[in-house]
Amino acid sequence: MAAAAAGRPWVLRAASIAFVLGLWEWGGTVPVSIAFPKCSETLVAFGGMIADGTFAGAYAETAGPLIVGVALTGVGGVLAGLVMGLSPRTEWLGLPVFIVLQASPSAAIVPLITYIYGIGFAAKVFAVVLLSAPVIVLNSYRGIANTPRSLLEMSDAFLASRWKRIWKIVIPAGSGLIFAGLRLGLAQGFTGAVLAELLITPTGVGDLITFYRSVADYPRMFASILSIIVVASVSVTLLQRLELRLFRPEMRPA
């Protein structure tokens, strides 16, 4: 039976999801807390919020800073990682900054953004950049810095110019890690956008969480949180598939 399940991974995945949702339903029935709704109540609220356009309106607001922030970090972060991977001086200068940034408590830093960028769109974009930049930059840097020595020696043997070596050898060799960084950066960007909406100005999906919590509508509050998990998971999975298709043919299912 175990062998049959292993042959069909979707069975195990479905069982895993059913188990978690079942545990949630049980937790809501106990109840764990009066603020902890049953899974079924949350799913009903989730459906209602899709049907009445609540999610569409909220995500339209959240998407703006998220897209701009991830796009800025996507371009700037990859370039920064590339330069750091190629130049030891820039690596010395930039690497500690991003390592420290990655380890820093972002929830404590996000409110400080308002001192410089105020309370508008720019502040939310900066929050997205703050969260997504370290992972994109560091992954790109590692991808570039770990280019196989044999490939570099080969390019030397063929007397390739510096630019040709970067374009033909270094970037393709690091592309897998760079794309993985972009995927993880998107997930971090989601966190940044929601944190900004919770801690700076309540808009979009962050406003849904704040509002439904304030009016004690816990099924809708949990449905809002669930929607973030669903949207982030779907986006990251789609990017992962794209990554496998473009850069890692060896990982594709036969």
Partner: protein
């Protein structure tokens, strides 16, 4: 496989242990008696000083007081619901209505007094705000309720209600020109007016008795600790009345009791003006409110979206326990205070 089921059982036990309904804690409180755990969803500040004074006086009467500081009001509400705290501060109307939480309000601490500060050149009166953006705290907040009531009373309609959490953030945004008209509390109204004299002015707000902050308790704990509730209310009423009679009372008590000793000098300067203006504006309730206040709260919080029931259909006893406040007032009257 055995290990797997052991893990599942351990997880279930952990969830049950973490999510207990708190009845055990409530029982502990019952046995101890003479102690009170207060959940404060706010930071220690000039505004909370009066409560700290009342709590010190409760301690002097032999009751243990534990202050539990939490990040926000909702967490304080949850702490009281779960029995991890006995009383909390806030306005838990939505929680009581929406989830039948075992909570009852027993005293209004602060009336809702808002100060609408606007750019004088752009918005000389409410009529000029018709179709314009007005900034409030958050959706479903008391400041949004104020905006809705102003719309009804002034016959205008705001173009957009914008949300910016935190009076100090809105004050900074006002000074930086990011917002042109918003709702502020007393310290931030004073700050804005002092920072940019002549640029901003106040727009008149409707006269309301509704609550900005009430004290509420876990019903089980209140039932079992009536004497402690009585002591707490007597001290709150005494402090509240004393500071309205003489706002300098707060400063004197602070020095005497050694409270907020690390208050920065610039905040210390705000202390006396805050309590003077609060007393003048009727911020500090002298009699814990009463039924008239509850009815105003029903209208106000319905307007804010916190109460879904029609105000005239809501029952006072479903939200408030008016008995303890009356008993405390009677006791103070008997003792000549």
């Amino acid at each position: 496989m055995t290990r797997f089921w052991a893990l599942v059982a351990a997880l279930m036990l952990a969830v049950t242990a973490c999510g207990g309904d708190g009845s055990g804690d409530a029982e502990e409180g019952e046995e101890g008696g003479g102690s009170i755990r207060v959940a404060l969803g706010d930071i220690e500040s000039v505004e909370t000083l009066a409560l700290f004074i009342a709590m010190e006086r409760v301690r002097e009467r032999g009751t243990d007081v534990e202050l539990i500081e939490l990040a926000d009001e909702d967490l304080a509400n949850q702490a009281v619901v779960s029995g991890q705290a006995d009383v909390g501060l806030g306005a838990p109307y939505a929680l009581i209505e929406g989830s039948d939480a075992p909570l009852r309000i027993f005293c209004q601490l602060q009336a809702a007094r808002f100060f609408v500060v606007a750019d004088e050149s752009e918005y000389p009166d409410w009529q000029s705000m018709d179709g314009e953006t007005f900034t409030v705290h958050s959706r479903g907040s008391t400041t949004e309720a104020l905006a809705r009531i102003v719309e009804q009373e002034e016959g205008i309609e705001f173009g957009k209600i914008s949300y910016v959490e935190g009076s100090e953030v809105r004050a900074t945004a006002l000074l930086r020109g990011n917002v042109k008209a918003t709702v502020l509390d007393i310290p931030n109204r004073n700050f804005v007016m002092a920072e940019s004299p002549g640029t901003f002015h106040e727009l008149p707000t409707p006269d309301m008795k509704a609550s900005d902050e009430v004290i509420f308790g876990n019903t089980e704990w209140m039932e079992a600790n009536q004497e402690t509730v009585q002591i707490l209310l007597e001290e709150i009423l005494t402090v509240w009345r004393s500071m309205v009679d003489d706002p300098a009372f707060v400063q004197e008590q602070r020095e005497e009791l050694g409270l907020l000793s690390d208050l920065p000098a610039e905040l210390e300067e705000q202390l006396l003006p805050y309590y003077e203006q609060g007393a003048e504006e009727g911020l500090f309730t002298q009699d814990c409110g009463g039924e008239a206040v509850v009815q105003d709260d029903f209208v106000f919080y319905h307007e804010a979206g916190q109460l879904s029931g029609e105000p005239e259909e809501l029952q006072v006893e479903d939200f408030w326990d008016l008995g303890p406040a009356q008993e405390a007032q009677d006791a103070l009257a008997e003792s000549g205070n």
